[in-house]
């Protein structure tokens, strides 16, 4: 019995070792372990043994079965692995072929820039608000300390609809709407479209965008204005950016300033973008004129504030090195897809 078992086993293992294909293993399994297989028949013949020998013989047969099974499994895994490798090898592709072109949309460079600016100010606690583009003269001029017939009014080349309704020339009008709400403190930026009667060329457009900023609270100082805009410039143009405040005049701020940032293309050495000066003018700002606060019902003895206005296109053109403003409004997809 023992010899018989050994013979069967040796035979099985030899056959397994010699098997060349996966399905051959199945045949072997049936031949030895199947219902009519050699090992099964051997097991059946155990009834001829003396009862006391049967358990031991049964154990031997089961052990043999387990060994054959294990051997079969091992061989099977080898075959499967080889097959997989063969398949993978056959599936090799030229990974340098171009990627599938998916339809991709692109945001307008103005809005990419605007979102960056918004994120910076939202992070500093500013609400982003909007105001009307067709505006009353009062909000665009008078409430900003630009009374009727003031020369500053002429400088802005205003489009008029009626005598006192116009296309806003500046987002500063939104300042007044916010202050009139009477909710203090105020920290807001107001991005939006503005209009000036300029013929279009590479650097002018009758429509462009500004971002107005306004902070009104107790104890706001010019130093705070400097700090805020420095933070803004560093986050927009990079940590090494320097800013320069130059005295200027706006009707609705006093003191007023224009702000230059060190050219982030050349770091301030001078290049064609900054016309060799190393500086680029990006915004106007100042402390809110006390008369402007008064007109909107805020007591300038108790509150102070600062305001600033940034030209969005100015930043976008500069940032992306776009040399002609008209490109922003032609909507040529060859242009738009670059952003």
């Amino acid at each position: 019995m023992k010899d018989k078992l050994k013979k069967i086993m040796d035979n099985a293992i030899e056959q397994i070792d010699m098997a060349e294909q996966l399905d051959k293993l199945n045949d072997i399994k049936v031949a030895f372990l199947g219902k009519k297989g050699e090992l099964t028949s051997l097991l059946k013949s155990m009834k001829d043994l003396a009862p006391e020998e049967r358990p031991k013989a049964g154990q031997m047969v089961n052990e043999a079965r387990a060994r054959i099974d294990e051997k079969l499994e091992t061989k099977k895994r080898e075959f499967e692995k080889a097959l997989l490798e063969e398949k993978l090898a056959s599936e090799k592709i030229d990974i340098t072929l171009p990627g599938t072109k998916l339809a991709e949309g692109h945001r307008h460079p103005n809005n990419i820039t605007l979102e960056e600016v918004e994120d910076i100010f939202i992070g500093m606690g500013y609400q982003v608000v909007e105001g009307p583009e067709i505006e009353k003269d009062y909000y665009n001029f008078e409430a900003l300390n630009i009374p009727a017939n003031h020369p500053a009014k002429d400088e802005q080349d205003t489009f008029y609809i009626t005598q006192d309704i116009l296309l806003r020339t500046q987002t500063s009008s939104v300042q007044v709407h916010e202050m009139e709400k009477g909710k203090l403190p105020i920290r807001m930026i107001a991005p939006g479209r503005v209009f000036r009667s300029d013929e279009m060329d590479a650097t002018h457009s009758p429509t462009f965008h500004q971002i107005e900023g306004l902070v009104v609270d107790k104890g706001i100082t010019f130093a705070d204005l400097k700090g805020t805009l420095q933070e803004f410039a560093k986050r927009l143009f990079g940590e090494d950016t320097r800013i320069k405040f130059r005295p200027h005049h706006f009707q609705f701020t006093e003191p007023s300033a224009e702000v230059d940032v060190s050219c982030f293309k050349c770091g301030g050495k001078g290049c064609r973008f900054c016309k060799g000066s190393g500086w680029v003018e990006i915004l106007g700002c100042g402390m809110v004129h006390p008369h402007v606060l008064e007109m909107s019902g805020i007591d300038p003895e108790e509150y102070s504030g600062f305001a600033f206005g940034v030209g969005l296109e100015r930043i976008a053109l500069f940032k992306y090195e776009i040399d002609d403003m008209r490109l922003l409004y032609e909507n040529d997809t060859r242009f738009l897809k670059q952003f």
């Binding site: 339809a103 991709e104 949309g105 692109h106 945001r107 307008h108 809005n111 979102e115 992070g123 500093m124 606690g125 500013y126 609400q127 982003v128 909007e130 009307p132 583009e133 067709i134 505006e135 017939n149 020369p151 400088e155 489009f159 008029y160 609809i161 009626t162 403190p185 209009f195 009667s197 429509t207 902070v215 609270d217 107790k218 100082t221 010019f222 130093a223 705070d224 400097k226 700090g227 805020t228 933070e231 405040f245 130059r246 005295p247 200027h248 005049h249 006093e254 003191p255 007023s256 224009e258 402390m287 004129h289 006390p290 409004y329 032609e330 909507n331 040529d332 060859r334 738009l336 897809k337």
Partner: protein, 811 residues
Amino acid sequence: MDTSLSWIKAYVPDLGCSAQEYTDAMTLSGTKVEGYKEFDKNLDKIIVGRINKIEKHPDADKLVVCQVQIDEEGTEVQIVTGAPNVKEGQKVPVVLEGGHVASSHKDGESEDGFKIKKGKLRGVESYGMMCSIEELGSNSNMYPDADPDGIYILSDNPAYAGAEIGSDAIGLLGLHDVVFEYEITSNRVDCFGVLGIAREAAATFGKKFVPPVVAKTGNNEDVNNYIKVEVENPELCPRYTARVVKNIKLAPSPEWMQRRLASVGIRPINNIVDITNYVMEEYAQPMHAYDLDTIEDRKIVVRKANAGEKFTTLDGQERELDDTMLMICDGKKPIGLAGIMGGENSMITDNVTTMLFEAATFDGTNIRLSGKKLGMRTDAQAKFEKGLDPNNAMEAMDRACQLVEELGAGEVVGGAVDIYPVKKEPVVIPYDADKINALLGTDIPEEEMTGYFEKIDLIVDKEGKTVTVPTWRQDLERLADLAEEVARFYGYDKIPVTLPKSTATTGGLTGKLKMEKIARTTAEAYGFCEGMTYSFESPKVYDKLCLDEDDILRKSIRISNPLGEDYSVMRTSALGGMLSSLANNYNRRNKNVRLYEIANIYIPKELPLTELPDERTMLAFGMYGAGDFFTMKGVVEAVLKKLGLDGITEYKPGSRKYLHPGRQADVIYNGKEIAYLGEVHPVVQKNFEIGERTYIAVIDLKTVMEMPSYTVKYKGVPKFPAITRDISLSMRKDVTAGEIEEIIRKRGGKILESYELFDIYEGSQILKGYKSLAYKIVFRASDRTLTDEEAGKVMDKIISSLAAKEVTLRQ
């Protein structure tokens, strides 16, 4: 506004700085220098030479060979020239070998100038060049004594005739100078004159300011015997001063005056005109000179013009006036347009013997409006518009008369006419150092502040803590203005850098802006690029869109002063801009273009406007190339879903004239139209010159925002299995999917989860005039496992309702 450095130095003699230092320091103290030009930038090794001998060139008819003496010792160099105007004995500017000139006869002006090397002209050696005024970087307008077609003959000008041979010709001609160009803000009227800028320069550099000392002028006669002045409209002419000069001797003005005028781009004419211009530049006070002999009745009347009155200004143009415009008249007729331009009938000619000098101030607004109405903009007008200081007028007048005497241009008659009913007094402003520091965020001592005030000629009362502001600084009115004066002389750059320490606030976008952001992201995910178009457009767009004459979209807001008819109305639809942008792309042969824009449209409540219009934000899509109506519809569906509209959206056939009649839909949500889409009508497509089928969609974001379901809520992941039924339906072709789906929704009840059209068939397998739609319908209960019977009952209901519409199950 321009000034030369030498002119500034005339009043700030201790000023010693380079052009760049001046530019930087002045800009930082508030007088912005936009740029500067150094006249001698490209001039080097140019001396006064003397032509000792001229001989014919042996091989060229048009050239001569000159022996030019270049020092007092008698050293000569040989120079070949083609200039026709040279003669022996003349003194000329000579650029020596290795020197530089600004422009060349052949190549014109150059950024870096031209280096002069020794060379051979037709075989004869030449060691330098004799210069024309152009080669020295200027022109004969600015140097009237220079020959426009040849070498600048210095010795023809008595002022230069005695120049030492070998001396610096650049210096002789006043070209070692710099001209600065300033950007002067409208509040600083005083800085439209050289004196105002010089005062700023002195304060900026801490040097002494030395304005001209104006001496008393005039003979023993009385001006009142020559002229009477009446001002009928003192509100428009706060001050009118006049003086008379007789025995006028017209001549060129002296070199120093010519050079100063030329340095700021004013062409020297003669002594009287030059004095008028000089004083205007110096004092920022325009002056006018009339030929007194043309003034009838020896009388000046300042009055408003009569409506329709005609008047010829000294540029020879006849102008029609209205009754708001201020005129200078004599006893009979107008002789000048106040503050803008004098008249042809009274102007100074070469025959003038006696003249009337006028220095007046006028109401800035009136001058500005008159100039605008007449379409004129003169230098004088630009100054008057700002509102000049009347106290400056008499000083300027006396300065002009002083120059007349100094230059020997005529005999000044004693006395002056001065009509000045309401004298402008200086204002007194209290200052408070603590408040100024609180506003600036600084800690500047009071002493330092008052020092700054004194530097700009404010009179400080330290006891009363006030400053008295001279009338030329009309921009200083209150404490905030004084704070700016402190800040700019302390230095904006020295003010600390802090962040607001006050109340914390939370920032963020408004709901509308958040929605726009979602719309952008979704549009881009579907391959649409964001465009931007103008808010105003041509009214012709309505015709291109084939709108009816009475279409509501034609009721648009007109701009009263547009850039042109093409930009004259505020858009009432986002389509014009979108289709024009697509056309741009089509024209440039861009393929498969997809654009979107978030565009405001402007809907008037009534016309003409009496209140602000309704500004509505629209999300417009446009595309041609790959894709069709259903591509566009898919985008609309996706955007609406992302915007939180998860209820039932209905698509009803639309009737817009600019869209294909059979391929357009109004999109209805909660009973309201929120969008429309469709294929652009072929005629409209042609009108815009787009050569492919074009699809558009417009979503009214403002209406979408008003919808109640603009919130996204989590509904849970289903816990119980669904039952799915597929049905294939047969129906007449004119039955729409929308009708079928409405029945499915209505009869599906609570257990209907979703349905999806998965097949459309029209063809030989089906009756002619019929089509087949196949739907997958999914049922599910949220609280139990649904039974087949329940689903079956609902399916029966659906099928029976469909049968009523003659929609049958396809076998």
